[in-house]
């Protein structure tokens, strides 16, 4: 193993079912159902997945969903906006905890 993240490992994802196959199968079935077009289009779902991939910092998912977004008809401008949504959410989530910090300050300082 040269690295914790090997690009070829993504292709091996389905082998996760070599033990606990029923659980793995349930996951892949659920995943495939979720990503099908419904109230949201496949293109919109791929953009959400791309944003989540960035928020959770998954290089496999970033590779996979950048390609999926292109295939489904999104361009760089749209994908960039999706990443900014993830970044803005992450920044907001960090910043909103500042309220807890201020509460503690107000409780502590007399």
């Amino acid at each position: 193993m040269k690295s914790y993240y090997e690009p070829d490992d993504l292709q091996k994802f389905s082998t996760i079912t070599r033990v606990n196959k029923p659980l793995g199968d349930k996951y892949f079935s659920y995943y495939n159902s979720v990503m099908k077009a419904g109230a949201l289009s496949e293109r919109e779902k791929a953009l959400i997945a791309l944003a989540v991939a960035h928020a959770l910092r998954c290089p496999y998912c970033i590779d996979a969903y950048t390609l999926t977004c292109i295939e489904k008809g999104s361009d760089e401008e749209q994908m960039n906006e999706a990443v900014h949504v993830a970044a803005a959410m992450a920044a907001g989530i960090t910043l909103v905890h500042g309220v807890q910090m201020m509460n503690k300050i107000d409780d502590t300082i007399i």
């Binding site: 289009s41 293109r43 292109i70 295939e71 489904k72 008809g73 361009d75 401008e77």
Partner: protein, 331 residues
């Protein structure tokens, strides 16, 4: 433009053999044969008002090759003599730039044939060609219009600055003539890089929603075509050292269900100088059909009994849902 011989050498040197790959899927492990001849595709010239990065024909404003009236008449004679040929598919370059374009369309229609014009759209916005939109509407010509994307970004990157805005204006003009509602207007999409297109149905939905909401444009169908590793696209792959991965991707996506519908089994491609090819791609590689290789010596029986010439670029037509001038081959 890379000479056809050099392209053939590159394709032949790849560690794949399309012929060997498809043999087990053909009846009695034979070679690929035609099923019928329902469409004659005429490439009536390489001149084009655009210079697109992906163009497999190498068309541009500086090209001068054009089909003469004499060759065109030989094509018309062949078309007239074969009832099985129902459709004449006119392509280029920008086919509208051939001085005899209107003559060809009118004569084909008089012969009772369905006529397709493969239109880059922007030509209809060029001085001297604007009237052709109304002419084609009057003649009931089906328009297959190239539009790589429903936004400016990828369209202009692939086809040149300003192409998207001109294409939108041309589509709006065509809609005004009844195209997209009472007359057939189909869009042609090809990926903007080294990937296969998503499903035709999914992309058609995206194109329809976006073009309608943003520009009020109607069209009938979207047809998706894979990029074959030829000419401009081949050079781009070579420059990025991506030819082998791209070919691996096409080979890994091989779908035997596409074989019965391959366009080379139903149509014949005629070059501007009258030579006959199994498809537009073989034409660009100079792979003439044998034994009857010129329209002047056209023989229907020989054509439908020929063996189709295949090479590694053919993996582009059998990948995923398949690819042809009419889009996906299987859903």
């Amino acid at each position: 433009m890379m000479p056809p011989h050099d392209q053939l050498e590159l394709l032949a040197a790849l560690p794949h053999s399309f012929e060997e790959f498809i043999r087990p899927h053909l009846p009695m492990a034979s070679a690929l044969k035609p099923c019928a001849l329902t469409t004659l595709q005429l490439n009536i010239g390489k001149r084009c008002n655009q210079s697109c990065r992906h163009c497999h024909v190498g068309s541009s404003p500086v090209r001068t090759e054009t089909m003469s009236r004499e060759i065109m008449d030989a094509c018309l004679q062949a078309i007239d003599g074969v009832d099985e040929i129902k459709t004449v598919d006119i392509t280029g370059g920008a086919p509208e730039m051939n001085d005899n374009f209107s003559y060809l369309v009118k004569t084909c229609k008089n012969l009772g044939k369905h006529v397709i014009d493969r239109c880059n759209l922007t030509i209809l916005e060029e001085p001297g060609y604007g009237h052709l939109a109304a002419f084609m509407a009057e003649q009931g010509v089906e328009i297959m219009a190239s539009l790589p994307y429903f936004r400016k970004s990828y369209t202009d990157r692939q086809r040149g600055a300003g192409v998207f805005d001109k294409s939108i204006r041309a589509l709006q003009k065509l809609n005004g003539l009844g195209y997209g509602t009472t007359l057939p207007l189909n869009l042609i999409y090809n990926p903007s890089g080294m990937y296969l297109s998503s499903s035709q149905q999914q992309l058609e939905c995206e194109f329809r929603n976006n073009l309608k909401q943003t520009y009020g444009i109607d069209f009938n169908h979207l047809y998706c075509i894979n990029n074959l590793p030829l000419d401009g696209f081949l050079q781009a792959l070579l420059a990025l050292n991506k030819l082998t991965p791209y070919m691996d991707m096409l080979k890994n996506a091989f779908n035997p269900c596409t074989l019965p519908g391959l366009m080379c089994r139903y149509q014949l491609s005629v070059s501007y100088d009258g030579y006959l090819y199994d498809c537009d791609f073989n034409q660009m590689l100079g792979l003439k059909i044998l034994p009857s290789s010129h329209i002047r010596g056209f023989s229907y029986d020989q054509i439908v009994n020929r063996t189709i010439t295949t090479m590694n670029h053919c993996f582009g037509c059998t990948a995923g849902s398949g690819s042809s001038c009419g889009g996906e081959l299987v859903t």
